[in-house]
Symmetry: C2
Subunit: 495 residues, 2 copies
C-alpha cells in the first residue's frame, strides 16, 4: 500500500496550468491503450464525503469518453441475485483496450458489510480472499488494476460535510448516512485499514490519496493513472510469454495419470440389461432435476473426454430425462473475438445459468489445461495457474448452490481408432471426424499426462471428477445417468 | 396459413418404423444448417392440452441438442421490464446455424392478453403489427421462421384433460387454468383464429397441425421442419444478393438532400458568447437528464456526421453535464463476429440501456443506410428496407418511454479538408486520420445523397433528426447542448 506523500496544495493557478497537460497525457494514454492487449480497471473507494463522485466526473471529463465506462452497482437485479456474487462484476468487465472506472465495486459490499452486519470473521476473510483471487486472476491476465483510497481525516470529513450542507446547491448531497459514517469514523477507519491491508497484493496495490484538497486530489489521481500505466507497459514487456513444450509434457501430479491408467475399460452391458436399468435411472434423474428446479438450484454438467469417446451421445441420453425448457447444451468451440478480448473464464461466467436451470457443457473451461496446454495456445505460466483459477470458479458456483457434475469419458487408444475408422466409413458420420482429430490422436500420451494432472488438481469435494469407462457405450451412458442422479440427490439432501 | 391435411393416424408400429429415419434426417439437417448463414426459429403454440411440451421434448430428443436451444418465457425479469417488450426475445435469439425452439414466444402475451385483458382493439392491432414486423425483419434477414399451431377440437380437448387427470402420474399436469380454457374454448378459438390470420405472412406462415393423435402429431411437426428447411434452402438461392451501385447513388427522397444542402453553415459564436451561454445550457441539460433519471426514463443519443465533423468533441461536452455513473458512450466500429452472426440491429438491441440510464452512440445503426449502402456492405434490398426497420426500432424505444435524440453534424467539404490537414500536421491528432477518411471524402456526393435519404426517411415525430451546422465548433457544441436539453424537457413534460 503506497500513500502518496501529500504534495503541496495546488493553487487554482497552478492547477489550471497543469490540467491541459494532464488531459493531453490521459488521451494519449488511451490511444496507446487501445492498441494494447489489456484493460485498465480503476477503483475509486474512500470515505464518505471524500469526493469519489467528483473525482470520477472530473476524470471522465478529461478522458475520451469513447474508451471509458463508469460502473456503479446499485441493488443487484434479480438476474444478478440468481448467480454467484461476482457474476455482476464479471459481466461488466470492459474489453481489452478500454478503461473501466468503478464508483462502486466488489469492495462496496465488503466495506458496508463488515461495518454494519453480523458476519463472522471467517465469512469476511473468505470474502476478502475471493476479492484477492479475482484481482490476482485479472492482474495475471495483464489487466492493470489501480485502486485508490480517498483518505479524509475526521476533522476534514466534518468540515467537508458542513461545507456541503451550508451551500443550498449541494446540501442535498449530504444524507443522514453521511453523518452516521462520521459518528462511526473510528470503527469504519479500522475496517477500511483491515480491508486495504488484506487486499493490497502485487498487481493490485492500494494507493491512499489525501482527499482534503480537491484540486490536489484530482491531479494526484490523474498522475497515478499515468505513472501506473507507464510502469505497467514496462512490466508487461518482461512478462514471460514462454511456452515450454517439455514442461507441458511433464506430469505435475502423477497420481492423476495413475488413476486414469488404472481405470478398467472392460465393463459392458447387454442391450437387455441396459434397457432394464435405463428407465429406472432416467426416472431418478428426471426427479432429481425437477427437485433441483423446484429448489431453484442450478446444475452444471461438464463433459470432457477423448475425441469419439461418445460425449454427444451421452449428452443426448442425459437431456432426454430433462424438460427441454430447463436445459441448455453449450458446445465449446473456438472463442469469439469478443471472448478473446477477455479472460478465458469470461465466456463461462457469462453463461452461468439462471436459478433452477441446467447447463450442459460439451467441452468446457478445462480446455485451458488440455488442448491449450498441449498445443501451446496458453503460455506455460497461464496453464499452470489455471488449475487454481478453475477450482476457485467452481467453488464460487457451488458456494452459490449450483451443483457441478463433471465427467471424463475414457476410452482406450484402440477403441478410438476403431471409432475413427467407423466414422470415416459411414457417410452420415463423416462430418464428425477431421484432420485435427487425427493430429490430437498422435499426441495421445501428452494428452494423457494433461488429463491426469487435471484429475489430480481439480478433483474437489465440492466438484468431483467422475471417470467414466466408455469403451462400451451402453455401460457409459447408464453410469452417467446413475452418477448424475446420485450426485444431484446427495447435493439436494445436503442443501 | 396451411392446415396439414390430417394424415392417416400412425399406428405404433408405423411410427416406430418411421422415427429412425426422421431422426437421421433431422440431424443431417442440423449438419447442413451449421454451415448455413441463417438460423431456424420454431414456434410451437396451440391449445392447452395439445401437447406443446411433449412435442418439444420429443423433438429435442431427436435433434442434436448441441445445436438447439429451447426457450420458455416466464414472468419478465426486472432487467427485461426496464426495456421494450421485444428486448427479451432479441436477446434470446440463437446465432446463425442454430435452432431456437420457442415453447413460449412473443405470441404468449398476445394470446393471453386478448383473451383475458381489457386491451382496446387498437392496442391489440398494434401488438400484432409489432409481431408481424419482427418476423418480417427476421425472415428478410434469411431466418427460417416455422410457426406451428397445435389444434385440438373441443371434444378432443375434454377427452385429453380427462385422460391426463385419470392417470395419477400425469394428473398434476392438469390445472384449474386448463379447465378454464376448456370452458372458454369458443372465445379462445376466436382469438386464436384472429391472431393466426393477422400474423400469417410470407416468410412467417402458420401451419395448423391436428394434435389429437400424439404420434401423428409428432411426426407431422418433424416432417414440417424437414420440408420447410429444404424449401428454404431452395428459396435462399434465389434471394437477390445484388448490389446496385447506381441505385445506391440515386436519391430515394430528394427532399432530404435539399434540406441538407440548404443548411446555412456560416453561424459562429465568439469564445465569449460561448462561455456565457455554455454554463446555462450545461445546467439545463444536467437538470433535464437528472429529471429523466429520477423518472426512470432512459435517453439515447445518436451522433452521426461527416468524418472530422467534431462528434468526439461534442460528445465530451455533452457528457460533462451528466453524472459519469449514468451514461455510457458506445463507439460503433466493425461488428464482432458474434454480432455478425445476427441481424444488424441485434448489437443495438443488446445495448438498450436500463431504465434511467443514458446511452450515447458515436455512430449508430444508421451505418446501415450510410457506409453500408455506399460501400456495398449491404445488398440493395437490405439497405432499402433498413429505413422501415430503423423507424420501427426507434418507435419501440420511444413507445417504452426512451427519449431518442439524433444529431447530424454537418460541415462543408472545404472545412473537412482543412481539418484533415490539421490532423495530419498535429502529432497528437495524427491517429485520428487514416486512408479510409480520405477514401470516404472522395465519395462526398454519394454520402450526401445517403444522408439526405436518411434525413427524409427516418425523421419521425417520435425521434426527429437535428441538423447541426458544425463548421464552427463552438456554435455546434452549444446548439447540441441546447437541443438535447430542450428535447428531453419536452419529452418529460409530455410523458
Amino acid at each position: 500500500m503506497t500513500s502518496c506523500a501529500t504534495p503541496l496544495r495546488l493553487t487554482r493557478k497552478q492547477y489550471e496550468a497543469r490540467v491541459p497537460q494532464l488531459r493531453e497525457d490521459l488521451v494519449q494514454l488511451q490511444v496507446k491503450l487501445k492498441q494494447s492487449p489489456f484493460k485498465i480497471l480503476l477503483i475509486i473507494a474512500g470515505y464518505e464525503g471524500a469526493g469519489r463522485g467528483e473525482v470520477i466526473n472530473t476524470l471522465s471529463g478529461w478522458l475520451d469518453p469513447r474508451g471509458v465506462e463508469t460502473f456503479a452497482f446499485q441493488e443487484p437485479t434479480d438476474e444478478e441475485r440468481e448467480r454467484p456474487f461476482m457474476w455482476r462484476f464479471w459481466r461488466s468487465l470492459p474489453t481489452s483496450g478500454r478503461i473501466g472506472i468503478y464508483a462502486g465495486s466488489w469492495y462496496t459490499e465488503a466495506l458496508r458489510e463488515e461495518s454494519f452486519s453480523h458476519k463472522t470473521t471467517t465469512e469476511i476473510s473468505r470474502e476478502l480472499e475471493r476479492i484477492q483471487h479475482f484481482e490476482k486472476l485479472l492482474a495475471d491476465n495483464g489487466t492493470l488494476v489501480i485502486k485508490v483510497w480517498l483518505h479524509l481525516s475526521k476533522t476534514a470529513q466534518r468540515h467537508r460535510l458542513h461545507t456541503l450542507e451550508s451551500d443550498p446547491s449541494t446540501a442535498w448531497r449530504v444524507t443522514p448516512e453521511h453523518w452516521y459514517h462520521f459518528r462511526n469514523y473510528d470503527r469504519i477507519a479500522r475496517t477500511a485499514r483491515r480491508i486495504l491491508k488484506e487486499t493490497d497484493r502485487p498487481g493490485a496495490t492500494w494507493t491512499v490519496i489525501d482527499a482534503e484538497h480537491e484540486r490536489t486530489r484530482n491531479a494526484a489521481v490523474a498522475k497515478l493513472i499515468l505513472t501506473s500505466f507507464n510502469a505497467h507497459l514496462r512490466r508487461q514487456k518482461t512478462v514471460s510469454r514462454a511456452i515450454d513444450k517439455r514442461a507441458a509434457a511433464r506430469s505435475l501430479q502423477p497420481v492423476g495419470l495413475q488413476r486414469l491408467q488404472a481405470l478398467p475399460l472392460d465393463q459392458t452391458l447387454t442391450p437387455l440389461e441396459y434397457e432394464m436399468k435405463r428407465e429406472k435411472w432416467l426416472g431418478r434423474l428426471n426427479q432429481a432435476v425437477r427437485a433441483a428446479h423446484a429448489a431453484h438450484r442450478s446444475v452444471v454438467f461438464v463433459f470432457e473426454g477423448w475425441d469419439a469417446a461418445g460425449k454427444g451421445g451421452a449428452i443426448r441420453r442425459l437431456t432426454s430425462a430433462i424438460d427441454a425448457r430447463h436445459y441448455r447444451v453449450i458446445p465449446v468451440a473456438k472463442p469469439t473475438d469478443e471472448e478473446k478480448a477477455h479472460h478465458y473464464l469470461w465466456r463461462f461466467w457469462r453463461n452461468v445459468p439462471r436459478a433452477g436451470m441446467v447447463s450442459i457443457y460439451d467441452r468446457s473451461w478445462y480446455g485451458r489445461v488440455l488442448v491449450e496446454r498441449l498445443e501451446g495456445f496458453a503460455t506455460t505460466k497461464e496453464w499452470q495457474r489455471a488449475y487454481a483459477e478453475i477450482n476457485d470458479f467452481e467453488n464460487q458456483l457451488t458456494d452459490h448452490g449450483i451443483i457441478v457434475v463433471k465427467f471424463w469419458l475414457h476410452i482406450g487408444k484402440d477403441e478410438q481408432l476403431r471409432r475413427f475408422k467407423e466414422r470415416e466409413n459411414t457417410p452420415y458420420k463423416r462430418h464428425k471426424i477431421n484432420d485435427e482429430d487425427w493430429r490430437n490422436r498422435r499426441k495421445w500420451s501428452g494428452y494423457e499426462v494433461s488429463v491426469g494432472d487435471m484429475l489430480a488438481l481439480t478433483d474437489q469435494p465440492y466438484a468431483p471428477w467422475h471417470l467414466i469407462p466408455a469403451n462400451d457405450k451402453r455401460h457409459a451412458r447408464l453410469l452417467i445417468l446413475k452418477t448424475a442422479a446420485k450426485q444431484i440427490e446427495t447435493s439436494l439432501g445436503a442443501g
